[in-house]
Symmetry: C2
Subunit: 488 residues, 2 copies
C-alpha cells in the first residue's frame, strides 16, 4: 500500500526552499571569503572515512545536520580552486550566473540525447555555439547559422573533444582508403593510420590515441616550444614513404606546460595538403580569442576541421562545458550511428541529435549556463576578465624579473607565468615543496627539456593586483628559506 504523499518523510518543497536558500547564503559566504581559507588542505589520505558513519542511514537525516557537516567533513579536505591564492594547473570556471543556470538545469533534468527528448535543450545549444563562435570570429564554415554542414556542440571535456576529433578523422580516412584499396580489411587500414601531435601537447592527446587504438607520433617542438609546419611535413613524408597513412594532427593553442602556441598557420595548410584532419585544442587559451588583440595566435583557423576550447576553464561557465565546432560533423555522426527504435523520432534530420556527436548517450541541459553567463556578463565583462588575468601574469613577471635570483622560463602568455630560481632542478623542487608546504598559495611544477620550473597560473575571478603581490611575496619568502638552508 503506497504511503500517502503528506505522510512521507523525504524532503518536500517547503523544506527544500529553506535548505536551498540557506545553501545560497552559504555559497555566497564561501566564495566572497574564500581568500581567508588555507588554499591547500592539510589532511592525510583516508581522513574522511572516520568522520562519517560506515553506512547510509535507514531514516532520513535532518538537512540542518547535512548543512553543518559541510564545514566538519568536506571543507577540511577541499583544495580551494577559486581562491586568489590558487595558481595550480589552469583555472576552472565558477560564476554566479552559471551556478543559478545549473540549478535550473537540475530542475528540468532532461536528457537531451535527441531533439524530441527536449527540443529547447538541443536548440539553445545550437544557437549558443553560434553566439560563442561569433564572439571568437570563427570562420562561418563552423557555424550552424551559416546554413552549411558545420556546427558546434558542448562536450564534457577537451579530452573527449580530442577523442571525438580523432574518431571522426579515423572514419573519414577509413572510407577514403577503402575506396582506394577495396581489398584491405579494417584491421590492415587501422594498423597503417598515424596521427601527429607535439611533444608539448596535453597528456589527453596521447590518451586519445590509446583509446582510439591508433598510432600517434609526438613530434619535436621548436625552441619556443611550438610545433612547426616543416616538422609535421617531414614526419608525414617519412610515414608515407614507410607505407603508413597520415590521418590526424592536433595543434595546441596554449599548451599546459608553458602556454605555447603551435604554429597553426603552418600546420593547417600542411594538414590540408596531405588530407590530414586538423584538430585545434585551445582548451585554456581559446577563451582569450574573444579579445581581438589575441586572435593573431589562432591564425590559420580556417584550415582546421575541428576546433575546441573550454568555457569551463577561463570563460566563467562552470564545468562541464567544452565547446567544439566541426566543419563536417557527419563523419562523427555516421561513425557511431546506432539507432534503436526507442530513440527514433519524426523530426530526425531537421535538427541535430547530439547523441551522435559525443561518446556518452546521455547529456544534461548545459547550454543554459552558457546562455546565463553570456547574458549576465556581456561580452565587455568577459573580455575584461581575460584582460585582467593577462595583466596579472605580466605583473607577476615584472616582480620576478626584478629579483635577480629568479628567471622567467619561456615567454609569459595569457594568465600563465613560468619561472624558476636560477640554479638546479633540485633547488627548484625544494622551492616548490617549500611554497606548497607553507600553504599560503598553491602552485604545480612542470618540466621541459629536463628543466624543472614552476607555473604561476592566474585562476580566480576574485584575484586583484594585491593578491599577485601577496603570491610573489610568498614565492620570494620561500626562496629566502630555501637559499638560506642551502648555505648552511
Amino acid at each position: 500500500m503506497p504511503v500517502p504523499l503528506e505522510t512521507r518523510t523525504e524532503m518536500q518543497a517547503p523544506e527544500f526552499k529553506d535548505f536551498a536558500k540557506e545553501m545560497v547564503d552559504y555559497i555566497s559566504n564561501y566564495l566572497e571569503n574564500i581568500r581567508d581559507r588555507r588554499v591547500l588542505p592539510t589532511v592525510q589520505p583516508g581522513y574522511l572515512r572516520p568522520l562519517i558513519p560506515d553506512e547510509a542511514p535507514q531514516q532520513p537525516d535532518k538537512w540542518e545536520d547535512v548543512m553543518a557537516d559541510i564545514e566538519r567533513v568536506i571543507m577540511p579536505g577541499v583544495t580551494h580552486w577559486h581562491s586568489p591564492k590558487f595558481h595550480a594547473y589552469f583555472p576552472t570556471a565558477n560564476s554566479y550566473p552559471a551556478i543559478v543556470a545549473d540549478m535550473l538545469s537540475g530542475a528540468i533534468a532532461c536528457i537531451g540525447f535527441t531533439w524530441i527528448a527536449s527540443p529547447a535543450c538541443t536548440e539553445l545549444e545550437v544557437v549558443m555555439l553560434d553566439w560563442l563562435g561569433k564572439m571568437l570570429d570563427l570562420p562561418k564554415e563552423f557555424l550552424a547559422c551559416s546554413g552549411g554542414q558545420g556546427g558546434g556542440v558542448i562536450q564534457g571535456t577537451a579530452s573527449e573533444a580530442t577523442l571525438v576529433g580523432l574518431l571522426g578523422a579515423k572514419a573519414k580516412a577509413m572510407k577514403r582508403v577503402k575506396e582506394e584499396h577495396p581489398d584491405w580489411d579494417d584491421n590492415t587500414i587501422v594498423s597503417k593510420l598515424v596521427g601527429y601531435t607535439s611533444i608539448q601537447s596535453h597528456s589527453s592527446v596521447e590518451r586519445a590515441g590509446l583509446l582510439g587504438g591508433v598510432k600517434l607520433r609526438s613530434l619535436a617542438s621548436d625552441v619556443d616550444l611550438k610545433l612547426r609546419g616543416e616538422t609535421l611535413e617531414r614526419a608525414i613524408k617519412e610515414d608515407l614513404e614507410a607505407g603508413l597513412i597520415p590521418f590526424y594532427v592536433v595543434a595546441t593553442l596554449g599548451t599546459t606546460n608553458t602556454c605555447a602556441f603551435d604554429r597553426l598557420d603552418e600546420i593547417g595548410p600542411i594538414g590540408n595538403k596531405y588530407n590530414v584532419w586538423v584538430h585545434v585544442d585551445a582548451a585554456y587559451a581559446g577563451s582569450a580569442f574573444i579579445c581581438p588583440e589575441y586572435r593573431y595566435l589562432m591564425k590559420g583557423i580556417e584550415t582546421a576541421d575541428s576546433f575546441n576550447f573550454n568555457p569551463h576553464k577561463w570563460m566563467l561557465v562552470n564545468f562541464d562545458c567544452s565547446a567544439m565546432w566541426l566543419k563536417e560533423p557527419y563523419w562523427i555522426v555516421n561513425a557511431f550511428n546506432v539507432d534503436p527504435l526507442y530513440l527514433k523520432h519524426d523530426m530526425q534530420g531537421s535538427a541535430p541529435d547530439y547523441r551522435h556527436w559525443q561518446i556518452p548517450l546521455g547529456r544534461r541541459f548545459r547550454a543554459l549556463k552558457l546562455w546565463f553567463v553570456l547574458r549576465l556578463y556581456g561580452i565587455d565583462n568577459l573580455q575584461a576578465h581575460i584582460r585582467r588575468h593577462c595583466g596579472f601574469a605580466k605583473q607577476f613577471e615584472a616582480l620576478c624579473r626584478a629579483d635577480e635570483r629568479f628567471e622567467i622560463f619561456g615567454e609569459v602568455q595569457m594568465g600563465l607565468a613560468c619561472f624558476k630560481l636560477k640554479g638546479s632542478n633540485e633547488l627548484n623542487e625544494q622551492l616548490l615543496r617549500r611554497i606548497n608546504g607553507r600553504g599560503n598559495i598553491h602552485l604545480v611544477p612542470s618540466k621541459v627539456n629536463d628543466v624543472y620550473f614552476l607555473r604561476m597560473a592566474v585562476c580566480s575571478r576574485f584575484t586583484e593586483s594585491s593578491d599577485i603581490d601577496f603570491s610573489w611575496k610568498e614565492v620570494a619568502a620561500s626562496a629566502d628559506e630555501v637559499l638560506a638552508e642551502q648555505k648552511k
Copy 2:
C-alpha cells in the same frame, strides 16, 4: 588599468542571492505543478532561434529579464521528464537534495582528477560507493572498505562504464595473449579479440565495440529475451575454434526494450571459465537491488569483474551519476596511465587518482549529491520509491489486462509495462502516434522479433496511483479513436 571591484557591472553576491532565491522558488513551483504542463512540447524544429538575439549582448542583461525568458523561450520547448505523464525511455532522476548538493558542487567547483586536487572529492566518492555497494549487498571484493584491490567510481553514463569495462578487458587480454605469443604484434591480437552481448542489450554496448575497435557479437536471447549461458558458451567455443580470442561479455540486468534480465548466474561462470571479463550493465534496474526482494535477479554477481548501475536513473540522484565497481581497477588504471609532472603529487598510491578510472580527465564533485540523497532520503524512503514504481507498473498491467483489446508484451518487470493492441504493427504505430499527438502523456515504442509494442515506464517521483489511472485512460481513449477510424 583594471576596473575596481566595486564599479564592475557583472553579477555580485547580493544580486546572486536575490536571483538564486528567486530560482529556488521557481524550481519548487515548476516541479510541484509539473503535472499541469503539456508533457510533450508542440514546437517545430528551429522554433528557438527567432526568439532570442543573433548575438551575445555587449553589456550585461538584467537577471530579471533572464528569469522571465525561461517561460518565454525555454519552457515551450521542454519535454517534461519529471511529469507523472512522462512514460518514455526510462526515468532520469531529480530530487530536491540532489539539486542542493549540485549547487554546492558548483560553488566548490574543484576538478577532482587527482587526490591532491581536492581530497574531499575523491574520499567522499570512495566512501559513498562503499555505502551504495553495501545497500545493494555487493560482494565485498567490489568494496574499497574490504581492504582489497576493488572499489567504486562515479562515471558519467552507463555508456562510459561499458566502454571502460571493455578497455580494461582488452588490456587484460592483450597482456595475457602477449605472454603466450610474444611474436604477435598488437594489431594481430586486437584483430582476434571478440566480445559478446545479447541482441537485447542497449545500443551503447554496440557503440562501445565500435569505439574500442573490437568485434562484439550480438547473441540471440531466449524466448524470455534473456541471454543464456549455453548460448554464450557455444559462441565462445566457435570463436576459439576459429582462432579468435574471447575477452569480454556484457550481461544486461534490465534491458531497455523490455526490462529483461540476462541469466547472470549462467553467463558469469562461463565467462570465468574461459577467462572472459564479465561486465554487468544494470543501468536502470540496478537501483532495485537496494530492495532485498529483487536481489534474486542479480544472482551470480560474485562472478562479475565489473558492475554498473545509474543512481541518476532510478535512485533520485540527478544526472550524471553512474556508479561502477571493479574488482581489479588496475587494468583500467594501467591501460591509459599517462602521468605528466603537473599532475603528480606526493600522496600518489595512497588514494585513488580517479582520472585513471575514466575516459575524460576532468571530473566534478559528484559524490556530494549521492551523499545528500542517501542521507536526506534514508534507505527506507529510497526502497519505498522503488516499490511504489514497481507497484504502479503492476497497476497499469492490471488495467491493461482487463481490457480485452490489449495484451501485455512479455513480463512486467520493475517500473516498465510493455503492451500492445492485439493486431498488427501498423495498428500499434497508429496508436502510439495518436497517444503522443494528444499530448497528454508521452510514450516511446520498441520492437522485438518484429513485434512493435509500446513501453509504459513509470518515471516521475511525483507519480501517484491516480496518475496511472489517467495514463491508462489516455491509452484506452486513443485506442477508441484508432479502432473507430479503422472500422470506417
